[in-house]
């Protein structure tokens, strides 16, 4: 089963390039922890999923690159080629000459409508190269104009064109103190549109990623490349193939599809977040050893206390019912265990029915998938995909900031100049307030 990746905008393209690098480096890396034969099978499976093999030259990523200005795409292609491990198809990119200028309306109403025919053509070509299409992964940011505006529009077009395929959108959530002043407007417009077209919206917060870089990876001057590496560690950890399971028993045919099927059991709840443990600098990996019970204990507390990383978790948060419930409730969780001794871990702590709303049948909310091959040179690594209340905080923040600005009608003229109406804003607010309420009420 193959995944076709669509990288949109500066952020989406940079994350995409990093994702394929992470996957290629891991797959073709020496450190596997399994036998040669098993490693070969694993390699073939991963290649089938993310790359098209060609007779000459390195494998080509199954990706379509979209941006409204050519600079970033050119850079991505050069970087990929330089790695020697993989490359992009020269012809599978689309760019125009002028950026969207942080304006969602400009991206959605102008650029995307001009771009969509060409992009869909490229996408169709990529899809035709797959034996089995598992689904689409759309990478984009929320804050800018291209990623958010064009991304929202293209997701809808993909949905129309491939009504039966899975679509997951990976989005990078902007810093709280912004990179872009109108980011909250762009964010609510994007999210409300994606909620209609996408199967799942996978959120990565820049603020969290930066903290991980400082506190776990020990990086002093953090660049976007560092942040993207952390994002892709999570992302690859959830997307790379698994071949076993602990507490469920079903034939898995389509990794991406099965992930979404398990996590998004109700169309009102589509916001996913990820957690990974352990996470450390390359340098420290050789000096660390972990055991599964320890890792899982931390991971559970990260989930319960709604922490993005293991450092500084609040251990006082307890799972208890009552009026002043403080812990993070989930609709569903999916755990990936990668590395040594994966048959042994005890995962019952994640199956506690108090973690989940009562309309979920007991025992159904958690699945654990395993892969004995080591991931990213960690001897043991646990990655968790959750559909939980984690996005409530950031979502609430974005809505309230955007609403404050909207009540003064600031910046609204910039959007109406590009063919948007004030009602579009109100529609976005209404639908997201509903999403927020649903998650709060879990």
């Amino acid at each position: 089963m193959s995944i076709v990746t669509v990288q949109i905008g500066q952020c989406g393209n940079q994350v995409g390039e990093q994702l394929f690098s992470t996957i290629a480096e891991d797959t073709y890396g020496k450190y596997s922890g399994v036998g040669v034969k098993d490693n070969e099978t694993y390699k073939t499976e991963v290649e089938k999923c993310f790359f098209t093999l060609s007779e000459k030259g390195p494998p080509k990523a199954k990706a379509v690159l979209v941006d409204m200005e050519p600079k970033v795409i050119a850079q991505c292609k050069t970087n990929a080629k330089r790695s020697g491990l993989w490359s992009y198809n020269d012809s599978s990119s689309f760019c125009q000459k002028r950026g969207s200028g942080n304006n969602w309306a400009h991206g959605y109403f102008k650029h995307a409508q001009n771009a969509s025919i060409n992009v869909m053509e490229l996408l169709r070509k990529e899809v035709e190269k797959c034996d089995h299409l598992g689904g689409f992964l759309v990478l984009m940011s929320l804050a800018g104009g291209t990623g958010s505006g064009v991304g929202a529009y293209l997701s809808q077009t993909i949905r129309d064109e491939f009504p039966n395929s899975f679509i997951a959108n990976q989005i990078v959530w902007p810093y709280n103190t912004g990179e872009v002043i109108v980011q909250n407007y762009n964010a609510i417009l994007t999210l409300s549109h994606l909620y209609n077209s996408s199967d799942a919206i996978l959120i990565f917060e820049n603020d969290h990623m930066q903290k991980m870089c400082t506190q776990l990876m020990g990086i002093k001057n953090i660049s976007f490349r560092d942040i993207n590496k952390v994002i892709c560690h999570h992302l690859a950890g959830g997307l790379l193939r698994t071949n076993g399971f602990l507490n469920c028993n079903r034939l898995k045919t389509n990794h991406l599809g099965d992930v979404l099927e398990h996590l998004v059991s109700h169309p009102d709840y589509k916001l996913l977040t990820m957690r990974a443990i352990p996470l450390m600098s390359q340098h420290s990996k050789a000096y660390s050893s972990y055991n599964w019970p320890g890792l899982l204990k931390h991971l559970r507390q990260m989930l319960v206390a709604n922490a993005a990383m293991e450092e500084g978790i609040d251990w006082n948060v307890k799972v208890s019912e009552g009026k002043f419930r403080t812990f993070n409730k989930s609709v569903a969780n999916l755990m990936f265990l990668r590395g040594k001794d994966i048959a042994s871990p005890d995962i019952s702590a994640f199956q506690d029915s108090r973690l989940y709303p009562d309309w979920i049948p007991p025992g159904c909310a958690l699945e654990t998938w395993t892969q004995p091959r080591c991931f990213h040179q960690y001897e043991k690594a646990a990655i968790m995909l959750s559909n939980s209340q984690s996005p409530v905080g950031p979502l609430n923040h974005v809505i309230s900031k955007a609403w404050g600005m909207f009540s003064s009608r600031a910046y609204v003229h910039q959007y109406t100049n590009h063919g948007m109406a004030e009602e579009n804003f109100l529609d976005a607010f209404t639908s997201l307030e509903q999403v927020l309420k649903n998650y709060k009420d879990l």
Binding site: Q10, E69, P70, K71, V72, Q75, K97, R98, G99, G101, N102, N103, G145, Y175, N176, T177, G178, E179, V180, I181, V182, Q210, C213, T214, K220, N221, I222, S223, F224, R225, I227, I399, S400, K401, W403, G404, M405, S407, S408, A410, Y411, H413, Q414, L426, F429, T430, E433, Q434, K437
Partner: protein, 467 residues
């Protein structure tokens, strides 16, 4: 990659323009080592094959063709010959063609009406033709930069006439105006009239205006001179006395030219967080007419003298918010920010910017609905000879002071109807033009003051509730 066209009008506009071209060439020469005509050069320059009879543009292609002859994407307009013909005799003569020049001999006599109502229509076709030629040579034209002063006749009059013309002919293309405001003790008596009349046009037709006050430039240059140990010589009128081999206003014009250079850096070079030019107005202009941006640059010292040691990074950020570094005489720190952009160049990481925002934020006041109103940009290529630099662009209510002072000076003259007849005897100039212009300025002051009153209080509109 997009291209921009610079329209420089009047003595002041042309002098700043030439400093800009000079510095831009220096910057590209520094980064472009292999002599290819590449994308970053194409944003402001054409590559022309001048060996042939009809010199034609060499297309960018795969960015592998050799630089032949670089021509600035510029239109030079002046209604007297001196400056423009000086340029054509100077070291920059090769980057301009004669068909990019539009000049007259008699000047506008410090009269906005002469520039706007007389020369404007008279040269309309010639200007349009020059602009069209420049625009057609662009692969994807994104921006017009218009440089002129506010106090004189040609810059303010013809400059704003061209602005109207561009808005009419190229409504989709962004129009950035760099406008030099006169000092309070300006020797042109009619400068308040000219400025207010010109401002009316800027308010209506520009996408972004970057006001620069002469006095601020003089102060900065003097400050640099004192701290570098070189004696500062200023005449009683505040103008700098000419040194050896130095044009009188070079140091000041350098600062203004650097503003343009830094603002366009992201459009010219690569960066990990690009700021496209259209993002500037998108992020910094919350309401259509409030598009006047206060700018500051650090490190300043090296702008006038590149032989000084670099400043520490954090110091650079702090200084950018002090009132000595603003390009208008105002103190944004003690007024209200509507939005603020940080455009950083050189060896600086995202985390450096974040750290400094967190550090500076408590000392700055932002309007309630935009208290996280930061826009950041990172360009990899620093200015020549420096490790890094910072340009801040702020939409701040402190600009009201500049406007009110101007308004007061205008009213003083207007009450007596002083010099009025010089304007009204020009065809098409009416008394009502003065009233409209002064009303427009009052309206602008009112808008900014209204927002200033809102202050930092968070908006209290109740959120939508869902059932």
């Amino acid at each position: 990659m997009t291209q921009s066209v610079v329209v420089q009008v009047g003595q002041c506009g042309n002098q700043i323009g030439c400093r800009f071209w000079d510095l831009a060439l220096r910057e590209h020469a520094h980064t472009n080592k292999n002599g290819y005509y590449d994308e970053s050069l194409s944003s402001f320059f054409r590559n022309v094959d001048s060996s042939r009879e009809n010199a034609s543009d060499i297309p960018l292609g795969d960015a592998k063709s050799k630089i032949c002859a670089l021509k600035a994407r510029a239109v030079l307009v002046d209604m007297e010959e001196g400056v423009v013909s000086g340029i054509m005799k100077g070291p920059l003569r090769d980057v301009f063609d004669y068909n990019q020049l539009i000049s007259d001999v008699s000047g506008s006599g410090n009269n906005w009406a002469v520039g706007h109502k007389m020369y404007g229509p008279q040269y309309r076709e010639a200007i349009l033709e020059s602009v069209r030629r420049a625009a057609e040579a662009c692969d994807c034209l994104q921006c017009f930069f218009i440089l002129h002063s506010m106090g004189g006749g040609t810059g303010s009059g013809v400059g704003t006439y061209i602005l109207d013309l561009l808005e009419e002919e190229y409504p989709e293309i962004y129009r950035f105006v760099t406008a030099i405001y006169p000092s309070a003790d300006d020797d042109v008596i009619t400068s308040p009239y000219n400025s207010v009349l010109a401002m009316h046009q800027l308010t209506e037709n520009a996408d972004c205006v970057l006001p620069i006050e002469n006095q601020a430039l003089i102060d900065i240059v003097n400050k640099v001179k004192t701290s570098t140990g070189k004696p500062s010589i200023t005449s009683s009128k505040g103008a700098i006395v000419q040194g050896k081999n130095e044009q009188p206003f070079d140091a000041m014009n350098n600062i203004a030219a650097n503003l343009l250079l830094n603002m366009t850096s992201s459009a010219r070079f690569e960066g990990s967080l690009n700021v496209d030019l259209n993002e500037i107005s998108m992020n910094l202009v919350p309401f259509p007419k409030l598009h006047y941006l206060v700018s500051s640059q650090t490190p300043l010292y090296t702008l006038a003298d590149t032989n000084l040691p670099p400043r520490r990074l954090d110091q650079m950020f702090s200084e950018a918010f002090s009132k000595d570094h603003q390009l208008i005489k105002a103190d944004p720190k003690h007024s209200l920010y509507l939005a603020c952009a940080l455009i950083v160049r050189g060896n600086v990481q995202v985390s450096d910017i974040r750290r400094n925002i967190d550090r500076l934020k408590p000392s700055l006041k932002f309007i309630g609905w935009n208290n996280e109103g930061w826009k950041t940009g990172l360009c990899n290529v620093p200015p020549v000879g420096q490790p890094y630099s910072l340009l801040t662009l702020a939409n701040n209510t402190c600009i009201v002071n500049t406007f009110s002072n101007l308004k007061d000076r205008f009213t003083k003259l207007y009450k007596r109807k002083a010099h009025m007849h010089h304007y009204t005897h020009i065809d098409g100039m009416e008394m009502s033009d003065f009233d409209c212009a002064s009303e427009s300025l009052l309206g602008l002051i009112g808008e900014y003051s209204r927002l200033d009153k809102q202050g930092t209080a968070a908006p209290d509109a109740p959120r939508l509730t869902v059932l």
